[in-house]
């Protein structure tokens, strides 16, 4: 009991110091203020809408729970799941405290941290729930559902991680995912519809995801199954924790790598540097030779080519190109098969918007070029403009080819709108250029790591604004011109966006010497 008190006191001190930190560094208050404002506007913007039906929440909760489970599997796979930090490894693991006590306390603490995150999420979700007729006591049922789910998956992560040290981790995770997919697909197959399958009561029988969803939907209606789901979850949590206490006495060595990985990943994430690039490494062991002389700044292009060849089919195209092509073929196929009345240009314009939106969000989360975090980039004796061009040259070439793969089909089958597709292609690429260069600009404005750590949400919004501002201006100009002229508004909007992006990119390039000289490592 005394030892537990020591652990609790340590954390109380840490929490106290965290809040004291706000006083020492006022910048920490900026994101807090930002979240409060965001929450306020979320609440203000609630409307009476039929959009939030019971089925909406069934789909939503199923999606969120599945997503969380998959994320926890991914984290186990990359050995990033750990209840500890490096300070625990260095100080707590060497201290004369029972390792089981350390573990159980850590699991409990992590679960509560997750709970706080869940409460935060529910705060954001609450306007939609209130719109759907859910009030405070019922909201607690939602929180309970999420809490039980988190208290269940945290120990699972630990056990799977431990088993992965003895047996093949890939196999264990694949087997778990396979079992999960089979169970999820049964209601879909029975009802011959994925959507109806997700919304059906059968789905609630799927362990963890289904049980938690069953409890979550108790917000709307409580039936006898609701209590059964709670009982199942509680029994599961007790069993799995008892198993851990019984089996895990000597786990310190097993968790060190995961703790190091988690710490490195968290630190990168906090600074907006965590990379989301999925690498395939098709030619990992191939001896690659690139012909030609790549001296000076062009060495960056050489290096990128080398990486691209190692990771993909070809240095100019690869998995992404294939995905763009499949998406385009799929769109044309669905339009013909289902007799959609939406014209091709509108369809492709919407798809372009969605792809760019997703891409921008992903790149915002991923930070920017790893290169800008490395001293090589700044020290290599070359002109900054040349360096920045060489750094992005291959990215731009690859994206140009991806976009051609995407737009060539409508260009052929809907030839009369060729100019519109061509403009869309140019806009697509120019927004991509802006995504890349906006990060360089942001890095030079918010120069040090303190800025990046504390003001990340605001920095990301600024970066997003830089990228989407030309599109907003394009929309306004297009609307204004189409009101007074007979010129096709799409033509005006797309041309304006492309021109503004082009000018902005050229401006950043011309000023890159001054911009890059502002960046500090």
């Amino acid at each position: 009991m005394n030892k537990l008190k020591i652990l609790i006191n340590k954390d109380i001190h840490q929490v106290k110091n965290y809040f004291k930190g706000f006083n020492k560094n006022r910048k920490k208050l900026i994101p807090v203020a930002f979240y409060i404002l965001w929450f306020y506007f979320m609440f203000r913007s609630q409307t009476d809408s039929d959009f939030y039906s019971i089925n909406y929440f069934k789909n939503f909760s199923f999606g969120i729970l599945t997503f969380l489970l998959i994320i926890s599997f991914i984290n186990i796979y990359f050995e990033r799941t750990s209840y500890f930090n490096m300070a625990d490894v260095n100080l707590l693991f060497t201290a004369p405290i029972d390792s089981k006590l350390v573990l159980i306390y850590a699991i409990f603490k992590t679960s509560w941290k997750q709970m706080l995150a869940a409460l935060f999420m529910f705060m954001f979700l609450s306007p939609s729930l209130i719109n759907a007729g859910i009030h405070f006591p019922q909201l607690l049922i939602g929180v309970l559902a999420y809490a039980l789910f988190i208290f269940a998956i945290e120990p699972i992560s630990f056990i799977v991680g431990q088993l992965g040290k003895k047996y093949d981790l890939k196999f264990i995770i694949s087997a778990l995912v396979a079992v999960l997919l089979i169970m999820i697909s049964i209601p879909m197959i029975l009802l011959k519809s994925p959507i109806e399958g997700i919304q059906s009561e059968y789905m609630n029988f799927v362990p963890l995801i289904g049980w938690s969803r069953g409890i979550f939907m108790g917000m709307f209606q409580i039936n006898s199954y609701f209590f059964i789901y709670i009982l199942l979850m509680v029994l599961f949590i007790i069993t799995i924790n008892l198993y851990i206490i019984k089996t895990s006495a000597h786990y310190y060595e097993d968790v060190i790598t995961a703790t190091e990985n988690k710490e490195a990943y968290t630190s990168k994430k906090k600074q907006g540097k965590a990379s989301l690039n999925i690498r395939f490494n098709f030619n990992k062991d191939k001896d690659i030779h690139i012909a030609g002389d790549y001296q000076g700044a062009r060495a960056f292009h050489w290096k990128n080519k080398l990486k691209a060849i190692r990771e993909d089919f070809h240095y100019l195209f690869g998995v992404q190109t294939l995905l763009f092509l499949i998406l385009s073929v799929g769109m044309v196929f669905i339009k013909s098969y289902r007799n959609f009345e939406i014209p091709y240009p509108i369809m492709y314009m919407s798809a372009t918007g969605i792809i760019l939106y997703i891409y921008t969000l992903f790149s915002l989360n991923a930070g920017g070029e790893d290169e800008l975090e490395m001293h090589f980039f700044y020290l290599i004796p070359e002109n900054n403009i040349k360096k920045i061009i060489a750094l992005n040259q291959l990215n731009f070439q690859r994206m140009a080819i991806n976009s051609i793969a995407f737009f060539m089909i409508p260009m052929i089958i809907d030839f009369r709108n060729f100019i519109n597709y061509l403009l869309l292609l140019l806009v697509f690429n120019s927004v991509y250029w802006m995504v890349k260069y906006a990060y360089v600009l942001v890095k030079s404005i918010f120069r040090n790591e303190t800025d990046f750590t504390f003001m990340l949400p605001l920095i990301k919004i600024f970066q997003l604004l830089l990228v989407i501002l030309p599109s907003i201006i394009g929309g306004i100009v297009g609307a204004a011109f189409s009101a007074v002229t007979r010129i096709n508004p799409e033509f005006i909007v797309l041309t304006t966006i492309f021109t503004i992006n082009l000018v902005a990119v050229l401006l950043i390039l011309v000023l890159s010497d001054a911009i890059i000289n502002r960046i500090e490592l």
Partner: protein, 234 residues
Amino acid sequence: MLKVKNLTKKYKDFVAVNNISFTINQGEIVGLLGPNGAGKSTTIKSIIGLLRIDSGHILINEKDHTSIDAKREFAYIPEFPNLYDQLSIWEHIEFIAKAYGKKDYKAIALEYLERFDLIDKKDELTTELSKGMKQKLSIICNLVIDPKIYFFDEPMIGLDPKAIKTLKNLLVELKNQGKAIFISTHLLDSIEHICDQILVMKNGAIITRGSLEELKGTQEISLEELFLQVTQDE
């Protein structure tokens, strides 16, 4: 070779490096010592242009330290080796050689790989290397550049004893070739007998400087004892 005059670097109100001046000549090894937080890494990063200076003048081989021409004259070995995950050891060397426009680098690179026991791993990706191996690679990449001045920031952290010895021998060889070397380290005994000049920093300022003999005076003490004496007195 290196002239630093009245260098000051601030982080907001905090003065990390306070008005320091020194010079390093050709064929000279200068050790930069100081307790944690003394401003050693900030000094090096400011000289090589990774940090912007608030005041002062820095010339590397008579060229402004931020100019491209100056960058051709120096190499920097950081404390923590930042390398590319997806490049092999040899590809890193190739990349750096290309970036610095070095054509005849292969023979010398192979020799360094041999000396640092990395020759068998030259085709392995850096993700497969230990921290010490990464540090060795970081050193080799910079040796391949063959610059006139080297900046080492804690280069021996993570290296095994053999690699430390190899590096020490290399430092002497480079000095004999007329290269200037500026090295910051906490492993005092490893540089005690090779430094021509020692700068001791504390709280952003140089508190003592001179050759080991000058600093010791008539005292029969080691560099470590001298360092503790000097930094405690302040």
